[in-house]
């Protein structure tokens, strides 16, 4: 499997511990403060896979931006392995909600951005090819982003993140645009990559089932300004089946937390 070859180069990639310490965050919206996160306390252990669920616009992407170091929290602190996160770093890679591929670069050159920016392009050719194969885009390596479907673009964005051998992978609804079959394959790939490489994953999703199939812990956020409403530990072995009665039961619990009582 391709996942194995990509992992081979990253044999000792360990996961980061991420610690949100009473984090509150607000944006400035036309001079008005817009509170987005309220008193978030969240510990993610090294190598843990957690999922964030919450209503749209509640602040999930913001939480990921804080962990990536793209923003500094208004109050509180975000720590990686005990030290405060001050700036972005390729060890913490964010896969954005929009693929945001650079339209002037081919798919392969997009995947190569990380190694190029860090000045290790020459030694990364094989990893880039592996990453492309992993997301099944090797035939589109020299295509431009406007020639890709939405799902292919999202897969290219995933390859662009994975090629950097991250210790923390922040996934912002990365499978939202994929057709259901590709989605299943990608879920399996994300899972097997995580289980082999051992990095920490924070996955934002709007799909309760996806959260339950992939993560060890599901964090449920409230309406904006988001606070942690509840937390569901999914203590089940992988691979999981969606018709597993325990999954079905937990799905029901989470939907009730989110305000749907079916």
């Amino acid at each position: 499997m391709v996942a194995t070859t990509l992992r081979a180069a990253s044999a000792n990639a360990a996961g980061l511990a991420i610690d949100f310490q009473t984090v509150s965050h607000q944006y400035d919206l036309d001079g008005q403060p817009l509170p987005v996160l309220r008193q978030i306390d969240l510990n993610v252990g090294p190598g843990e896979f957690i999922a964030l669920l919450g209503p749209s616009g509640c602040g999930k992407s913001t939480l990921l931006r804080l962990a990536a170091g793209l923003e500094r929290p208004t109050t509180g602190d975000v720590l990686e392995d005990g030290t405060s996160i001050a700036s972005p770093d390729p060890s913490r890679v964010l896969v954005f909600q929009d693929p945001t591929l650079f339209p002037w670069r081919t798919v392969r050159d997009n995947v190569a951005i990380g190694p190029e920016a860090r000045g290790v392009l020459a030694g990364s050719q094989k990893r880039i090819d592996d990453a492309l194969r992993l997301v099944k885009l090797e035939a589109f390596a020299s295509a431009f982003p406007h020639q890709l479907s939405g799902g292919m673009a999202q897969r290219a964005a995933l390859a662009r993140a994975l090629v950097n051998d991250p210790h923390l992978l922040l996934l912002d609804e990365p499978l939202g645009r994929l057709d259901s079959l590709t989605r299943l394959t990608m879920q399996e790939e994300i899972l097997s990559l995580w289980r082999h490489a051992g990095y920490t994953v924070i996955l934002v999703t709007h799909d309760v089932e996806e959260a339950l199939l992939l993560s060890q812990r599901v964090i449920i956020l409230s309406e904006r300004p988001a606070r942690i409403k509840s937390e569901v530990v999914v203590d089940l072995p992988y691979p999981r089946r969606r018709d597993d009665p325990r999954i079905v039961a937990q799905r029901q619990t989470i939907l009730e937390f989110l305000g749907f009582s079916a």
Binding site: G69, D89, F96, T100, F102, H146, N164
Partner: protein, 334 residues
């Protein structure tokens, strides 16, 4: 394009059925038209002699003979042949136009000397005055090349700085907005006074005319880069240098090219005016000088050269843009 292709196909089919071999019909018509022009030029005397008539007749006959030969061999020429076939109707029109032009100028005198010139009058200018014309082209080329390239280099660098740095933008943008809309030719009196030589003054004007649009459009291009691109690059480990060189500049390039096209046109405009005012040689000077002597044939001959040079440069810029911005196809309609 399509209609020409259809014409060509139709022509080939009907002829090939008659001759059992593909003949380029337009090529034959063009050869006939050029022969007609040669006959008109040679058979009737000029109202006032212009010189170089026999050379022109020779060229027309030679061109006609080549076209007649091509009519049977154009298919074998590949890409060049396809280009010729596409412009077949133009070649016919050109022959007819030469004949008509000869008639109304040299032969009938309806459009008299010195204000108008037959085609062989223009040819005569090239034959007699080619040395001076080449010197003028060289002078203008030197002025334009130094002026345009220093202008766009400064404009581009300044534009990137203005678009990237808030401090630069704070001090630079108001100045650029104030000066930018002033036509470069308005600076002519002041620059001829401010600079020690006319050449330097002209250089400044050409650089100004080409640099300002490039600066404005580069700045706005860098400014309007999708912020998410920077976020992506930063999470992947990019430093500021990478963000400018590999994100901001490529993303702004479509804007930069609009600025380059504007700068190119403005540079031609101010170049010719500046040369008319104080230069010793150059295309603008030549036009001015020959007009003063009522040598209008020389003026027309030079205008043709300028048209070819300027459109050639515009075409070149299009080719460069298509090379660099091929990725835009499908993103933007153009």
């Amino acid at each position: 394009m399509t209609s020409a292709a259809v014409d060509k196909d139709a022509g080939r089919k009907s002829v090939s059925s008659a001759f059992a071999r593909p003949v380029w019909k337009h090529g034959l018509y063009a050869a006939a038209a050029w022969l007609l022009a040669a006959i008109v030029t040679a058979a009737f005397p000029d109202v006032v002699p212009w010189g170089s008539r026999d050379v022109f007749v020779g060229l027309l006959l030679g061109g006609g003979a080549v076209l007649a030969g091509l009519a049977f061999s154009v298919e074998k020429l590949g890409g060049l042949g396809r280009g010729l076939i596409h412009y077949g109707p133009w070649l016919i029109a050109l022959g007819l136009w030469f004949a008509l032009w000869e008639l109304i100028t040299a032969k009938l005198g309806w459009m008299p000397k010195p204000f108008f010139s037959p085609p062989h009058g223009l040819l005569h200018v090239y034959i007699v005055d080619w040395q001076r014309i080449l010197i003028c082209i060289a002078y203008t080329a030197r002025l334009w090349t130094i002026g345009f390239f220093s202008g766009i280099i400064i404009g581009f660098t300044g534009g990137v700085a203005l678009g990237w740095s808030k401090t630069f933008a704070y001090w630079g943008m108001p100045v650029l907005r104030l000066i930018g809309p002033v036509p470069a030719s308005a600076w002519i009196p002041a620059t001829f006074f401010l600079f020690p030589t006319t050449f330097q003054a002209s250089l400044f004007l050409v650089a100004l005319a080409s640099g300002i649009p490039v600066a404005i459009l580069t700045a706005s291009g860098v400014n309007s880069v999708n912020r998410a691109f920077y976020d992506v690059a930063r999470t992947l480990g990019a430093n500021n240098r990478y963000l400018v060189l590999r994100v901001a500049i490529p993303a702004a390039l479509p804007h930069v090219f609009i600025g380059l096209f504007m700068g190119l046109y403005y540079s031609f405009a101010v170049l010719v005016v500046a040369e008319m005012l104080g230069a010793k040689y150059g295309l603008g000077w030549y036009l001015q000088f020959q007009t003063a002597y009522s040598a209008y044939a020389n003026v027309y001959a030079m205008l043709i050269i300028m048209a070819l040079l300027c459109s050639g440069l515009v075409k070149l810029l299009f080719v460069i843009r298509d090379r660099l911005l091929g990725w835009q196809k499908g993103v933007v309609q153009w």
